[in-house]
């Protein structure tokens, strides 16, 4: 799994690529929580995620909860079909804010 962090249009974006599984999800969790602990609102781009397991989903849930506690924005961008299937299994597709792209996020504000 690769993680690319960038800031654009006033928000941080963490783009995850590849397989977010039990061996790699701790790195995703660390990156997500570090952004939020730094006071940055965050969108996690899942467009290039080919696989995510429940440990990866748990990292997203932790981010969502931390952002809520800190009154920061947290959402998911361009969720791949593979990731969406797992979010649906976890009934989280209706919990996390999902955006097709950064423009859709900006338009929602």
């Amino acid at each position: 799994m690769e993680i690319e962090l960038q800031q654009t249009q006033g928000i941080s974006i963490a783009a995850l690529q590849g397989e977010v599984d039990l061996s790699s999800s701790p790195r995703a969790r660390t990156a997500i929580l570090a952004c939020l602990n730094d006071g940055q609102s965050l969108l996690v781009d899942l467009s290039a995620v080919d696989y995510i397991d429940s440990s990866g989903v748990a990292s997203l849930v932790e981010g969502f909860r931390l952002a809520r506690d800190r009154q920061l924005t947290f959402g998911l961008l361009a969720v791949s079909e593979a990731a969406l299937r797992v979010l649906q299994l976890a009934r989280l597709d209706k919990v996390f804010p999902l955006y097709a792209d950064i423009d859709a996020y900006q338009a929602s504000r």
Binding site: L22, V86, L89
Partner: protein, 142 residues
Amino acid sequence: MQEDECELLHELAFEARASALGAVRRQLTDILTQAHCSAAEIQSIVIALNEACMNIIQHAYHGDSSKLIRMLVDVGEEELHFELLDCAAPIDLERVRGRSFEDLRPGGLGVNFITQLMQDVHYSHRTEQAGNRLRMTWKRRR
């Protein structure tokens, strides 16, 4: 799982470590592709089996990566049967359950995924030696 009843039996054995799971998913995908499963079926089965392996690594072996997991795949015309075997101390079968989806917290979703995706899920203790057995059935969609 009785071998003489199988049309095609595959067996994988691998170390109970997180870094092994990517290769296991790919091997399982190859087996299911050869068994003419659809892409949607393969996706669901791989998710369920991966979560079951994760549960063994985390909750049966408690991270002891020197231990082995055996996965048996029985490919039949109407159904596919899966069996996961470990050599861990017997788990408390009463405690193997999913959690409420309303409870928004990290973790605890693996059993939910497995029971949602598989048509039959049965946990038991092994009788031939110490350890646990998980049997799952997938009914083919044709």
